[in-house]
């Protein structure tokens, strides 16, 4: 039935920007003094006609290693930019524990998501706190990772003045990063908002048991300056 409203899917392409625009920016901190520039595409899986496709969101990111255990980064959603909305995420990633055998490394990442549109000059701020584990395997630089992002919405009102009941959106992510001296390649899967029903809205997300949305992302990063494996 929803195929007749297929064109509204485009509307939701933008609606899904906020929490599902990019893979986890950095999982493992960069080496001190090194910088990485990356790009990614992908988004939540939606039904488009008879096919299921990831929403083709795109973004770029730059990160810098301040310490071996601390990296700062800033990302920009380029798809939003084309719609007149500056959407950036600025954050740090802090390693808490080193990997020890099969015990994974643990990192924490507070992020500020800032948005501003040129049409009505509206500004939004959504804080985010990510926590991840990662494992190098077989003595390689590549690693698997998994973790959870937590988006916070401080708004108390929605557009019609009714209460904004959702103040926490969890996102579970799992991915793999292939690491070479100059380039990293990443594939990541997210489960966005598993706590929320995906029924009775204008788009058909691909979730689990009618909840949330599965997202698929691809990215790469180019690294320069001080390079060494940790």
């Amino acid at each position: 039935m929803k195929q007749i409203y297929q064109c509204w899917l485009l509307a939701v392409f933008l609606a899904t920007i906020v929490a599902g625009c990019a893979p986890t920016r950095f999982v493992k901190p960069l080496v001190t003094g090194s910088t990485a520039i990356g790009a990614s595409v992908g988004g939540p899986l939606i039904k488009y006609g008879k096919a299921t496709i990831p929403v083709p969101m795109s973004s770029i990111v730059v990160g810098h290693g301040f310490r071996d255990y601390l990296t700062g980064f800033m990302g920009v959603n380029t798809t939003s930019l084309a719609f007149g909305v500056v959407q950036t995420d600025i954050g740090i990633i802090r390693k808490l524990y080193m990997q020890d055998g099969w015990r994974p490394a643990i990192v924490l990442s507070p992020v500020a998501n800032l948005m501003f549109d040129k049409w009505e000059n509206k500004f939004s701020f959504f804080p985010q706190l990510d926590g991840s584990f990662y494992w190098h395997y077989l003595h390689k630089a590549h690693y698997f990772y998994l973790g959870i992002s937590n988006w916070i919405d401080f708004n108390t009102k929605r557009s019609q003045g009714d209460a904004q009941k959702t103040h926490w959106i969890p996102i579970v992510h799992v991915g793999h990063r292939w690491v070479t001296p100059r380039w990293d390649y990443v594939i990541e899967c997210k489960y966005i908002a598993p706590t929320h029903s995906n029924r009775n809205i204008v788009v058909e997300y691909t979730g689990i048991a009618n909840r949330g949305a599965i997202g698929l992302y691809f990215g790469f990063a180019w690294k320069y300056a001080k390079l060494r494996y940790k």
Binding site: M1, A15, A19, M115, D117, K118, N155, R158, S159, I201
Partner: protein, 296 residues
Amino acid sequence: MMKPILALGAALLLFTASCLRLDDNLFNNITTDQYRFDDTKAEQEISLDASYKIPDSLIHLVPLVSGDSGSIATIYAEYIGNIAQISTDTVIVYFHGTKGNMDYYWNRTKLLAHVGGKNHFGVMTIDYRGYGRSEGKPTESGMYADAEAAFKWLSANGLIGDRLIVYGFSLGSAPATYKTANPGVLRASKLILEAPFASASVMVQDAAVLAMPPSYFTNLQVNNAQQIRNIHQPFMWIHGINDDFLSISTHGEVVYANHAGLIKEAYRIPGANHVNVPAVWGLEVYKAAILAFIRG
């Protein structure tokens, strides 16, 4: 140093030059060279038997000139009934949904033409600009102008507001609500909304979960939930409880609650989704409810 500056410049250029908006996505229009009425192959959401056939003499395709702030378009309307009796008949103006064109709503308009008996009320529907044979490109303001063009034609044929019933379905709830709240040549006596949406921003927020300004996505100002605060005429609201496109709770209930008048009726239809309310409710029950509201 030059590369970051160039990247920043490119980003600023993209931002300032950006013009992509989602406004056009409100419309799911299909053009046609010819309206086929009973011969249409367009998908119908409800089925009607042969007893609902309308005599050819009572089916009129009416071209209208619609003006929207300097943008003039010829649009097309269907009038089911005797045009000569508009000066004495009660007329239901049906504003259809976003899908297709008037052919896709042929059975719905025929059903309304049988409320109170065959051709008891006159029924008019229009194709907004960009739909069916109507010229131009669909826009929000154009949709309101097209509705006014229909009212002007009815007025010219003798209709007065006291005998005008406005019915909006889904997207059609926008022109129905707006023109009832902001009347032009005719002031509708009653308003019926089936599966209305509250506003474009609610659609977006429903999908995004987070409370974000609608201006991030669209410049559309459609806001039935706000417009209906200015409507004091009797109001009938019908919504499928299982509407999986426009949620009854975030859309329909808000519109109903905001109606400012004293007389209003709500029909929440169990088992019905966005498009099949008359069929699930039962055609006879549906017609009887519409009739009772119009006569009440």
